[in-house]
């Protein structure tokens, strides 16, 4: 059961974090244009 939670927590952190980081990078680059 803990493994289930750990697995999905990892996926959320990695995928969600990557989404946020990408959007932030995009924002910064667009601003400098």
């Amino acid at each position: 059961m803990t493994y289930l939670v750990l697995a999905y927590a990892f996926a959320v952190v990695l995928l969600g974090g990557y989404v946020f980081w990408s959007l932030r990078t995009l924002r910064e680059l667009e601003r400098r244009q």
Binding site: Y8, F10, Y18, S22, L26, Q33
Partner: protein, 231 residues
């Protein structure tokens, strides 16, 4: 919110709906218990990753034929997003393996070739970072991406063949009941949408980064031509 942010929000919303399906709609598994639910996102991520690496392959081939910067940018985007999804696949798989198989890892064909896949495309990203940006990096990366894509099924086949030389434990596969299949297909669709959005965002980032480099280069030339006092 610009259109990329809207698309990302929609993709994330879809993933949340998929999570609902995974945890609330899909039935529990009699044999494996709750840990079986890892399967839905784990397999979807693996398929999304392969899709991303297919983008790298096609982008690389197109780039080698006509040096299209668009193709190269898609390749770059596909590699990065693909490595992210492969990481998800590997870690979720290991966390599933521990309670089910008793250990985080075995050297069966699928795990081994997925690990090789990760290493190859992590190497792709490293080569891009270390090679001189522009034509050299793009060409090298295209070749690495193409060889990488071919190598993974070869490794998979080799390990399967090797495993029959050394028989090991058999993993039991049962056919999926309808609700599980539906949940899986829905999760897969949402994950592919997420992957596509992430590639699109990364493509845009790469386009902007390329533009920055293009502006910086003429500036370098100018400053290199500063008049110097004769010795």
């Amino acid at each position: 919110m610009n259109r990329y942010e809207k698309a990302a929000a929609a993709a994330v919303a879809l993933m949340l709906v998929a999570a609902g399906a995974i945890f609330l709609y899909a039935p529990g598994d009699a044999l494996q218990g709750p840990v079986q639910r890892i399967f839905y996102l784990h397999v979807s991520s693996a398929i999304a990753a392969y899709g991303c690496f297919a983008v790298v392959l096609v982008g690389g081939i197109i780039y080698l034929r006509n040096e299209s910067p668009v193709a190269d940018r898609f390749a770059r985007a596909g590699a990065l997003v693909g490595v992210v999804f492969t990481t998800v696949t590997l870690v979720m798989g290991m966390l599933w393996a521990k309670p089910i198989w008793g250990s985080f890892w075995t050297w069966d064909a699928r795990l081994t070739s997925t690990l090789v896949l990760w290493i190859i495309y992590a190497g792709y990203l490293l080569v891009r970072r270390l090679a001189e940006p522009g034509r050299q990096a793009a060409r090298i990366a295209a070749v690495v991406g193409i060889f990488g894509f071919i190598d993974v099924p070869v490794v998979h086949f080799s390990v399967t063949w090797w495993r029959t030389q050394h028989p090991g434990p058999i993993v039991v596969n049962n056919a999926l009941p309808a609700e599980m299949l539906a949940t899986f297909l829905f999760t897969l669709a949402c994950t592919l949408v997420l992957a596509a959005v992430l590639i699109a965002i990364r493509y845009r980032i790469e386009t902007l980064l390329d533009a920055k480099v293009a502006i910086a280069e003429p500036a370098k030339l100018v400053s290199a031509q500063q008049p110097e006092a004769a010795p």
